[in-house]
């Protein structure tokens, strides 16, 4: 037993040294969507060397935006299956404030997940993760191995776009539309007031810390954009964050194509990113952040 403990300790020391020396070269080591969320959050919290001027908060809808097309210093803090609320909570918990925060409004009605409690619960576990990187999800050996094999196979600099970003699955698309449109109810106003009250507090806190906040909506299938709950979210955004005190980027008028009813295709993600950039430039936000 003693030998085993000693060898394990040595393995951890060797692995820590390896992470210290080569850890910065590891990217996209997450193995699942949930883990990708945790890695993003942990990177934001613990990798203080990373700089950013703009943060995008949202769900998997926003994570398809092509960050390369946006100015340097733009960082994606959107979480698959969740909403911008988790991202907002993460920023308010940390002591880092970007100059510009883009908040995707599509999924704001989703219930808040407790996944952040695994990442940043303020306990000694969080402290351990801060100083001992091998506890972080990003450095799980199997994920690191995956990242190394992928980099070796495809080359380090190449961006790999998942096949699903190109493939339009009509059957899935139709079913998604059907499932969403068959639930036409709105959510209770009391619930919405609670959600938007919390968002408002967080947004105000970030504005006090010097951040600018912009709300935007990612286009989906036309049928889904007119759902009662989508209209309800827009109404609440206008009520709690009225223009011109807050900046809103309106949905583009042109139709967009999705792979599965809700996520844009790779091509249309590019189109929407360009639109977003143009709108931001128009509202002089980027000019301010680049100063």
């Amino acid at each position: 037993m003693r030998k085993t403990l000693l060898v394990t300790f040595l393995l951890l020391v060797v692995y820590s040294s390896w992470i210290h020396k080569f850890g910065h070269t590891i990217s996209r080591s997450a193995q699942t969507i949930e883990q990708r969320n945790i890695v993003k959050a942990e990177e934001f919290l613990y990798e203080s060397k990373q700089n950013f001027d703009t943060l995008i908060l949202g769900s998997s809808l926003s994570s398809r935006l092509l960050l390369d097309s946006l100015p340097n210093g733009c960082r994606d803090l959107s979480f698959g299956g969740l909403s911008a609320r988790e991202g907002l909570q993460l920023i308010t918990m940390s002591d880092r404030t970007p100059k510009l925060i883009l908040i995707e409004i599509n999924t704001l009605s989703l219930p808040k997940s407790d996944f952040l409690s695994n990442v940043a619960d303020g306990s000694y576990w969080q402290t351990a993760k801060k100083y001992l990187p091998f506890f972080r999800q990003k450095y799980q050996p199997v994920g690191v191995l995956k990242a190394l094999v992928r980099d070796w196979h495809y080359g380090k600099t190449r961006t790999i776009i998942p096949e699903t970003a190109f493939r339009v699955d009509s059957a899935v698309r139709q079913r998604t539309i059907y499932e969403f449109t068959s639930h036409q109810q709105t959510q209770a106003d009391s619930e919405f007031r609670c959600i938007f009250g919390e968002i408002k507090n967080q947004v105000n806190l970030l504005r006090q810390r010097g951040a600018s906040v912009v709300f935007f909506e990612v286009p989906t299938e036309a049928e889904l954009q007119t759902l009662p709950v989508a209209r309800q979210i827009r109404r609440y955004i206008c009520e709690y964050f009225p223009e011109p005190a807050y900046t809103h980027i309106k949905l583009p008028q042109e139709p967009y194509v999705t792979t599965d009813g809700i996520h844009l295709t790779y091509r249309d993600s590019g189109r929407f990113t360009a639109y977003l950039k143009q709108q931001l430039e128009g509202s002089m936000m980027l000019a301010n952040t680049n100063r």
Binding site: M1, K3, T4, L5, V7, T8, L11, L12, Y15, Q31, T32, E34, Q35, I38, N118, S123, W125, F134, F135, Y139, Q140, P141, V142, K146, E163, T164, R167, D169, V172, R175
Partner: protein, 474 residues
């Protein structure tokens, strides 16, 4: 409370330190009882009374089976078993009966459906039955009688520990009374078998936290409607992955339970013995969840008549035992179908064995292992998808989805995380070929240390997101 949560580790450390504190000897049992009740209450405080009620039934019935009036002993034992089963049936199968027999909207139906499922009810109920039946059967055996204390308070303490001992409270192994009761005695720190505890806990936590918890993130694709979007090959890989996951989850849990119990000086019987190397279905059930299958055999199959009443009755007994065993796992008809599938396999196997004598060639043994594994793996689908329509849809997708895209990454990770389970079973082959532990150690003197260190390293660095054990729901 999960075995890998900080809350549990805290409870374990405090209990362990107090347990072996000098002079605590006679308080060891009460201390374990308090820790066990805290452990249970942490997850379901509002249903702690149900556990205590179940314990009370068992305390009284087992006591009066031995010390009660001679003429009433059988009646008392029957009442005890019925009492245990009533609690189980009401809480576990109430919702299923409500759904099946009462139309939605009726007050009774809705009330039944809303009943909570007490954690570990199937396990502690079966242990209670074991206590009553063992006590009744051995009521005249002096050795056993001495285990039932004359003082009701002392007996209550023993039964409470037997039923609520936290390592096995929630998901077994189902420990029989005649196995556990003789072990209740003062324990000393110097008698703790550290090496055994350490190895068992490391292997158990590795199987649970590294293998099962990671695999579960990929096998989530087996749920509706995700499985309709992936290729047939991916669906087969997912089934294989789930088979590995459920083994790692439950065998891991059982090993942790064994290791924890050993820390407090108690031994549990092993619950898994390389089940995926089984060469027949009866062999599989001698290796998988051994404590449940031996319980079903001892307390259900044999009392029903076993194989002593002719072939037809034997087949019926097999089917009945397995269907009830299936329903024990969960309150859904798919579990009954799962049990029936295994019952049919056991009955079919017996029929073939009665009429055909197969040679014992090693290639044939290998074919049998593959066939049994394949059948068992497909049957797990009924576990993963309790909605029977989804099971049929999955089966359909297996044939129809050949042109859908492969989930290459998921399949790759399933393969990687399945390696430890395959290696574990490969060890069985080595052992079977005569390469025993000593011979292996002589050949590779540091193999043990290397394997255990690797597992511990992976537990620290590569654990999946924590989740409850699959068997907690039973």
């Amino acid at each position: 409370m999960l075995y890998n949560s900080f809350e549990f580790i805290r409870l374990l450390l405090i209990t362990f330190c107090l347990y072996y504190f000098p002079g605590v000897g006679r308080w060891q049992v009460p201390l374990l009882i308090i820790a066990s009740l805290l452990f249970y209450a942490y997850g379901q405080a509002d249903l702690l009374w149900l556990l205590l009620l179940s314990v009370l039934i068992n305390i009284l019935t087992s006591y009066f089976v031995v010390f009660g009036r001679q003429s009433l002993r059988k009646t008392i034992a029957i009442c005890g078993v019925v009492g245990n089963l009533s609690i189980l049936c009401f809480y576990k199968y109430g919702p299923l009966l409500g759904e099946t027999f009462f139309p939605s909207g009726t007050a009774l139906g809705e009330w039944l459906v809303s009943l909570p499922l007490p954690i570990g009810i199937s396990f502690f109920t079966f242990q209670g039955i074991s206590l009553i039946v063992d006590t009744y059967r051995n009521r005249e055996v002096n050795e056993y009688r001495t285990l039932i204390a004359r003082s009701l308070i002392k007996h209550a303490r023993t039964v409470l520990l037997f039923k609520a001992f936290f390592p096995q409270l929630i998901a077994g192994p189902i420990v029989k009374a005649h196995f556990f009761l003789p072990q209740i005695s003062p324990k000393l720190l110097k008698d703790v078998q550290w090496e055994y505890c350490f190895r068992t806990l490391v292997l158990g936590y590795f199987l649970k936290m590294v293998v099962a918890d990671n695999l579960k993130d990929y096998t989530v694709l087996m749920t509706y409607p995700y499985f309709e979007t992936v290729s047939s090959f991916t669906l087969i890989a997912l089934l294989f992955g789930y088979s590995m996951q459920i083994f790692a989850d439950f065998a891991g849990y059982s090993l942790i339970a064994l290791g924890l119990a050993a820390l407090f000086g108690y031994r549990f019987p092993i619950n898994f013995n390389f089940p995926y190397m089984a060469t027949s279905f009866s062999d599989f059930w001698r290796r998988w969840h051994i404590s449940l299958s031996s319980f079903l055999r001892e307390y259900l199959y044999i009392p029903l008549g076993g194989n002593r009443r002719g072939p037809v009755r034997t087949y019926i007994n097999l089917l009945l035992t397995m269907v009830l065993g299936g329903l024990w796992h969960g309150a859904a008809w798919s579990y009954a179908v799962w049990g029936l599938a295994h019952g049919l396999a056991l009955a079919g196997e017996r029929l073939v064995r009665d009429y055909i004598r197969l040679p014992r060639a090693s290639w044939l043994q290998a074919v049998k292992v593959v066939l049994v594994f394949g059948y068992v793996t497909f049957a797990w689908l009924l576990f993963r998808l309790p909605d029977f329509d989804h099971v049929l849809a999955y089966g359909r997708s297996l044939f129809m989805n050949s042109r859908k895209p492969h989930e290459v990454l998921s399949v790759g990770f399933i393969a990687v995380y399945s390696i430890p389970v395959l290696a574990y079973h490969w060890f069985y082959l080595l052992r079977k070929q005569g390469a025993n532990q000593q011979a292996l150690s002589a050949q590779w003197p540091h193999l043990d240390v290397a394997i255990n260190s690797f597992m511990l390293f992976m537990i620290i660095t590569n654990s999946g997101s924590s989740s409850t054990f699959i068997y907690f729901q039973f």
